[in-house]
């Protein structure tokens, strides 16, 4: 039996440099994409909640296009189709751009819903106190709506981290690509998949635990 030679620790320690490098790349792409997608999502979500002309319609189309096409197709378009227009993206750029665009679409839905859930009385109160529209947004709508959107937005962030594993298809050396490539040479497939499972579950479960903590800490006081 092949399992007789199962040696997870040996696999990890012999390839620790490559695997660590892959892990760092996963974290790097995830971090860029999480920040970028939050920025896109908050901006476009606010624009949609306020029905700002043009931006609002653009966002609606953007969200539907991203949600109704597989992310692998989006990655292929960026990596294999854009060069035809003279736009060449390397693997790293494709990786973070693809997940940022994907996450941005989902975040803009999260934040649109969150901001729409803010009671209009809060908004009117701020305007009555002399806040300008932008100041009303930053000081009243975003703090309240952002908290309402928080759980769903962290779920999106978790999906962003998981989706970085799809960069396997363009050969970007993040954790999944690295582990599978090594196992293709050493035939330690079971070890590679065990390692991937452990690392991703730890990442995802820690982020879910973070949601629960943040939900408690940032819960809106009763009655708001």
């Amino acid at each position: 039996m092949l399992l007789a030679t199962y040696d997870l620790w040996g696999f990890v320690s012999e390839n620790r440099h490559e695997l660590w490098h892959g892990f760092v790349n996963t974290i790097k792409v995830s971090a860029i994409a999480i920040l970028g997608s939050y920025a896109i999502g908050i901006t476009l979500g606010a624009a949609r909640a306020h029905r700002i002309p043009v931006v609002s319609q653009f966002t609606a189309v953007y969200v539907e296009v991203i949600r109704c096409t597989p992310i692998l197709v989006q990655i292929f378009l960026l990596f294999y189709a854009l060069p035809q227009l003279g736009i060449l993206l390397n693997q790293f750029t494709t990786a973070w751009v693809a997940v940022t665009i994907w996450g941005g679409a989902f975040h803009s839905e999260n934040f649109r819903a969150g901001i729409l859930a803010v009671s209009h009385r809060h908004r009117e109160a701020a305007l009555a106190l002399g806040f300008r529209p932008l100041a009303t947004f930053l000081n009243v709508e975003l703090p309240i709506g952002g908290r309402i959107a928080l759980p769903s937005s962290i779920n999106t962030a978790i999906s962003v981290v998981k989706n970085t594993s799809l960069m396997y298809v363009i050969g970007y050396m993040e954790l999944t690509t690295t582990a599978i490539n090594i196992s293709n040479l050493t035939l330690e497939t079971t070890e590679a998949i065990t390692l991937l499972g452990i690392v991703y579950l730890v990442l995802v479960w820690s982020l879910s635990a973070l949601i629960r903590t943040l939900e408690r800490r940032l819960a809106l006081p009763e009655g708001t």
Partner: protein
């Protein structure tokens, strides 16, 4: 349509589409059946079974689906030779593992939302646990489950593209093969690159399939809740 395009479209629709549909249908049915059963069992207050089902849900919802695909396709054969699957079957199994975890979570909520009176009334009529759920609780819970199931179908359709990663023939991998063939020198291809048209075409195809389904899910959500 230019000369190069019609064989490409024919290959994608004749070779890729059936693969995609097969994986999608099997995954949807498998996820629904297993998910509803697990979700219903999760409402029983018996700790060991709840822990087991919880662990199943958390693991398969937590793993990136591509890792689950690798797990089924590369990870199972070393355990036993009978666990060797074709790329399309392996993807369908992986999508069932992932999808049933999603459905289990949703149906736990749907089953839990049926008022206790329904259980009591069914018990008073002489139904046992199985009959009570089979004839009284689940038919009502399934109505509430319909919108998430349609959304799941959209996700499943998009994730069938993962079969291409392990060499299965579905829409995206069919497009990729045609993209490479078209770019090859004549007489095999045209020597020209048409990646943009081909992959945009695939994106449009997925959009045409998925968009009406997302509207349907939203409509059912409004109608049934």
């Amino acid at each position: 349509m230019p000369d190069w395009a019609s064989p490409v479209a024919r290959y994608i629709l004749e070779q890729g589409l059936p693969g995609m549909l097969r994986v999608a249908v099997v995954s949807l049915i498998g996820s629904t059946v297993i998910g509803v059963v697990l979700g219903t069992l999760l409402t029983i207050h018996f700790r060991p079974s709840r822990w087991l089902i919880r662990a199943y849900i958390e693991v398969f919802r937590g793993l990136p689906i591509i890792v689950t695909v690798f797990l089924v396709y590369y990870g199972l054969p070393p355990l036993s030779a009978t666990l060797q699957f074709s790329p399309l079957n392996a993807t369908a199994i992986a999508l069932v593992l992932w999808g049933s975890a999603q459905v289990a979570e949703a149906s736990r909520g749907a089953v839990g939302s049926i008022p206790a009176e329904q259980h009591e009334a069914a018990a008073a009529l002489g139904f046992g646990w199985v009959g009570r759920h089979r004839y009284v609780i689940l038919p009502q819970a399934l109505r509430r489950l319909l919108p998430p199931l349609v959304s799941l179908l959209v996700n499943i359709i998009q994730n069938t593209t993962l079969a291409g990663v392990i060499g299965g023939l579905e829409l995206l991998s069919a497009a990729q093969r045609q993209n490479e063939r078209v770019a090859a020198v004549p007489p095999i291809g045209t020597g020209q690159i048409h990646a943009l048209e081909i992959f945009l075409g695939i994106a449009v195809l997925f959009f045409i399939i998925s968009f009406p389904l997302t509207r349907l899910a939203a409509y059912l959500e409004r109608r049934l809740v």
